[in-house]
Symmetry: C2
């Protein structure tokens, strides 16, 4: 089997997880070359890497470059992405910077791997909330067209990186009685422990009242599903959970989509796990979905508000399926489809 030389730019929460996922899945790589701001030796996910400074020549000889796209590595794919392509690599970018670029397929392999077929060397990983929502919803949409859906998210702090994870932990440790003592938030604008913050990202200039995170759900869903007219409404909320995002989805289908049909489809779909027995307390939850690969789907029921309405609830690990795992799966799909 061919072995690939894999580059990784950025070693925050997502970058570290990318190394774990490559190793766990025994991705066929003869080299993992870690690039960051400066040269040094560093232990990452239990291995010592000679981290190299990110510069044009550092991409030479690589077959695949993963851009982690968060924290320290923000903007790296803007600076170096097409340079890496020019030097012969296929780029898989977890940042938000190229998701709307017409040259760049936006891919969840279980849903639209075929979008890889015409790639131009640069592929984007969708936003974590979009991935987890569509993992549950897209298989249903493939069976019966959807008119619109509403997604209300419960997003974990790990989506905002190491600093945010540390901040929730610190706030919780500072907790005495019912007030946070002597802790000033810096990763979030407000205390996240024992709170929910219904704002992720700034206001989107062309969508008054919507945050950038909420806009992603609409814009990315349209591109991934190949449905430029689908209507999507979204409220994104940060919750005091470490790992796994959850999404309450209410959708209107164009024809009947019964809970039984939906359960049957989810049961047969890859990458999702049906966790749906209210009477037994089997419901999707971040504490169970975190640190696992599958997106849990449950609470499937009729939405009585609209004709052919269906409600469901998904929980999935935002760092794994929402980012690192999805990126590695794209690399695997490229190999499988002889596109690299």
């Amino acid at each position: 089997m061919k072995q690939y030389k894999v580059g990784l730019v950025g070693i925050g929460t997502v970058g570290t997880e990318m190394i774990k996922v490559l190793r766990e899945r025994k991705f066929p790589c003869s080299e993992i070359r870690v690039l960051a701001t400066r040269d040094r030796d560093q232990e990452i996910a239990g291995e010592t890497f000679h981290v190299r400074e990110t510069k044009a020549e550092a991409f030479d000889g690589l077959d695949i470059v993963l851009f982690a796209g968060t924290e320290g590595a923000k903007g790296a794919s803007k600076l170096w992405g097409w340079e890496a392509v020019k030097r012969g690599a296929v780029v898989i970018d977890n940042s938000a910077d190229f998701r709307q670029d017409d040259r760049v397929p936006l891919v969840i392999p279980e849903i639209n791997a075929e979008a890889l077929d015409k790639h131009q060397g640069f592929i984007a990983v969708p936003n974590c909330s979009t991935i987890i929502t569509l993992m549950g919803l897209a298989p249903l949409i493939r069976a019966v067209p959807v008119k619109h859906f509403t997604a209300v998210t419960f997003q974990s702090v790990s989506g905002a990186g190491h600093k945010a994870i540390d901040e929730l932990a610190a706030e919780v440790k500072a907790y005495q009685g019912e007030e946070i003592i002597a802790y000033e938030p810096t990763a979030f604008a407000d205390q996240i422990a024992f709170n929910v913050i219904p704002q992720i990202g700034g206001e989107k200039a062309d969508m008054p009242g919507y945050t950038s995170e909420e806009a992603k759900m609409l814009i990315e869903s349209r591109k991934i599903l190949g449905l430029p007219d689908i209507k999507v409404s979204c409220t994104c909320v940060r919750v005091p959970v470490f790992y796994a995002h959850s999404i309450a989805i209410h959708a209107q289908f164009a024809q009947p989509m019964t809970p039984e049909m939906a359960r049957d489809i989810i049961r047969k779909s890859p990458g999702v796990k049906l966790v749906d027995d209210l009477a037994s307390g089997l419901i999707p939850m971040p504490i169970h979905a975190g640190h696992t690969d599958d997106v849990q789907v449950g609470r499937i029921r009729i939405d009585p508000c609209v004709e052919n309405g269906l409600a469901l609830f998904c929980s999935g690990d935002n760092i794994r399926k929402g980012a690192a795992l999805n990126a590695v799966q794209i690399a695997e799909a490229l190999i499988q489809r002889n596109l690299i």
Copy 2:
């Protein structure tokens, strides 16, 4: 001014808050008679009460009886409610047992105080999530009819009583690193710290897939708004927050309801506070709404999914406006309308 003899049955989270609210608002009472399972002297909210055992004669002479309706007092209004009415009191019941009873008005004073006018001595307080949702939504619906709305809740643990508050605190104290150490949940079926639980209550027999808590949003909204045909869909989720429930609402109106119109209405409505400036980070949040009377309303924006769609986000203290305060406000409205 006439002074009333007020009875209180149950001294859990809500009962204790009822005493606080009566004192804070200087409710005109010559007596607060606390009834519970057995006779004893007990300090409640900084005052020592001679708690009496709940029995028929204990209601004699009372003008108003508040049933706290949670924890130890569950089922008390079923046993003693109409007995108290027979003995001359007006009952204000926070339990879920009589909310659908045709003899019983279901009242949020800011929204449907007129429902009190034909009371038969027994009035019910709606469920906390319904109150907080309708405080934000009903003023808009009064201006422009609504076709349907979807409510996704972020409910605090205090809605499940003292034991649940203690459980979240204990889980958080048991927290070491990222796992809960040596703590077995009892108030909830699963760990609530660093988790969200998308199930509150058991499955509603006549609404497959829906929990009892979700059914309340539909059934109670219809009765309070006097709109028996309004369509409501709801996902109720417990979150690791101590006080204040939050609700993401997506509504379709029958005619245009612009964000500007909605903000103007909220600004002029009693009991709600417009907290709506995304650019300045002014958003409703439980840490700010908790322990206050007003329901915060914000994130008002167009919902592009449907014609005349509007999205908003509310946070309000479930123990105060969601229960104790609303009950005392009902008593105040009865006095104001000369109905007692």
